[in-house]
């Protein structure tokens, strides 16, 4: 009678027997499986993995140091051992390309995670609380929505200067209302289901219901949102570096490289072309993943009859 396992069972008897959302076959796993069947998702994952690999392994295989002056400025690739030539002050382009992916990917991921945490929290609260809390939070989010993402970021950069943490935070905040709308719609729908009503009937604290019952059931649309927002984060973060307000010289960063080397586009296009292509391919990859997930979700909702 006094084995630890039995004690666990005893205490469970005292707790109300709540039907957990995740005791059903979890929808988001089904969605991932469904998405993986699609060619576009596989291509997207392949692209994303390849670019991440370049960004992670790059610094170890780079032939030079990213801040080393190895050739006259804007040397074309006919110099031996410099496959992509040199940039505007004579750094090796290939080296800087191999170093320059980390910042773009890491900053974009950080901004997306901030946007997701904020947006999901606000979406859960507004979707579940409703009434005036819902109304007032949504009005405030409308104000954030009134600024295009890049404009909101620039407004704050003009006040506090080009700081990385600020850019990541603002891009994250500018994602939040868009994610909150999705989370709110999903919460509104889930909060009418039996397992939530049952939990409410047992008098479980509302914040517990939100995070233990509702959150696990709205994972699928949030995963789709994550893919989509990651694509836009990469675009906005790279654009800010391109405008000169993101990473600062002498950092090796794809967005910054494009800006620094634009003037030499006619004589030595590689320090612009290669980062442009890599950023472009990366966003296509993440967008393919988001699209595959989105299609899988629509398919599952149609099959299970969830509106």
């Amino acid at each position: 009678m006094s084995t630890p396992e039995m004690r666990v069972n005893d205490s469970e008897l005292v707790e109300p027997p709540v039907v957990h959302a995740d005791s059903r076959p979890s929808e988001w796993l089904m969605m991932l499986r469904e998405a993986w069947r699609m060619g576009r998702t596989k291509i997207g994952v392949g692209i994303f993995a390849a670019i991440v690999l370049i960004a992670v392994v790059g610094p170890w295989v780079a032939p030079y140091s990213p801040t080393e002056f190895v050739a006259p400025p804007f040397s074309t690739p006919d110099i031996p051992k410099m496959w992509l030539g040199s940039d505007y002050i004579g750094h090796d382009v290939l080296t800087r390309v191999l170093y320059g992916g980390r910042t773009v990917i890491l900053l974009a991921l950080a901004a997306t995670v901030i946007g997701l945490v904020l947006g999901v929290t606000l979406g859960l609260i507004t979707g579940y609380a409703r009434r005036w809390i819902d109304e007032s939070i949504m009005r405030i989010l409308d104000v954030v929505l009134a600024f295009p993402q890049i404009v909101l970021a620039l407004l704050f950069v003009s006040i506090l200067g080009p700081r990385l943490w600020l850019i990541v935070l603002i891009v994250g905040i500018s994602h939040a209302p868009r994610i909150a709308r999705v989370a709110r719609a999903a919460t509104l729908e889930v909060s009418q289901r039996d397992f939530v009503l049952a939990a409410e009937a047992f008098g479980i604290a509302r914040w517990k219901i939100l995070f233990n019952e509702i959150l696990p059931s709205i994972t699928s649309p949030l995963l789709v949102e994550f893919g989509l927002r990651l694509t836009y984060s990469i675009g906005v973060i790279a654009a800010l570096s391109f405008l000169g307000f993101g990473m600062q010289p002498p950092a090796a960063d794809w967005g910054l490289m494009i800006n620094e080397n634009r003037i030499g586009l006619v004589i030595q296009p590689w320090p612009v072309v290669v980062p442009v292509m890599l950023i472009g391919i990366l966003t296509i990859g993440t967008n393919l993943i988001a699209d595959g997930l989105g299609r899988a979700l629509i398919g599952i909702e149609r099959d299970t009859g969830v509106e």
Binding site: R40, R139, I140, D142, V143, A146, F147, P148, Q149, I150, V151, L154, L155, F156, V157, S158, I159, L160, T231, I234, G235, V236, A238, A239, F242, L243, G244, F245, I258, L265, V266, P269, V272, V273, V276, I279, G280, T283, I284, T286, N287, L288, D291
Partner: protein
Amino acid sequence: MSPLLKLILVRVGLGVLTLLMVSVVVFAATQALPGDTARAILGREATNVDRYEALKEQLGLNKPMTEQYLSWLGGVLTGDFGNSLAQDEPVTQLLSRRVINTFILVGIAALLSIPISLLLGSLTALRRDSKFDISVSIGSLSLAALPEFVIGIILILLFATQVFNWLPAVSRVDPSLPIVQQLDMFVLPALTLTLAVAPYITRILRASTIEVLESEYVMMARLKGLPERLVLNRHAVPNALAPALQVTALNLAWLAGGVVVVEYLFAFPGIGSALVDAVANRDMPMVQAICLIIAGVYVLANLTADILTILVSPRLRTGLR
């Protein structure tokens, strides 16, 4: 008051409220500036306490915050955004020419992208899963993912430097010449904006058209045995008008933000490139003015679309009676 009018008035009220809150955010942003405007104007001379205090008094910086906000807002409403810190001229004067340039640029891009997205969006929805639909879908999916500057640089490489040398890579619009004579300056920026926005809007329109086509009233019309042409014209199109209007608004709203990066890329003399310069110079009155203009266009575009949607969509109109 009719319920329809009431609904519209509520929307307008919310739009005005959003604009007011936007102006508060833009105003409050400058107040968070380390130091104040007087210090920013004087620069090193701010150590001269007398001049600093005099300028503060002159600019009204000693008044309470709400009073400062109200007098600033009053100025904004009469078109007075104050003086530029970087150029010491009225912001309105510095921006007027640029607003026109941007307006023309966005106009050209909208004239190109709205018909393209309407056409492709509805055609792909009607011929769902056809080869045409799939190829447009893959193309638009890839293009919609690309940041504007990536598209712009690819266009510069193709048409202005490496491959062909047909168009200017830098849009040096000469203010002394009429715009019709220098339309070539507008081609690449407008094309970049179009290629960036049209695929995104096409995808949204395709999804909403499919939703209409799968709706119960369209199914009902089909079951009644109406010819497909009548089903589309009488039942599907009126309901798809709402998404079409939303598309137009989304286009304009998107373009309002898209001009920033694209104008900077082509050194196009509009408000987008002016914003980048103003941020680099920390020219706050200029930043405030441009942020307000862009956010204003964005809110107004969405508001107009909302109201038109209420007016044209049969479901909303009749649902109220």
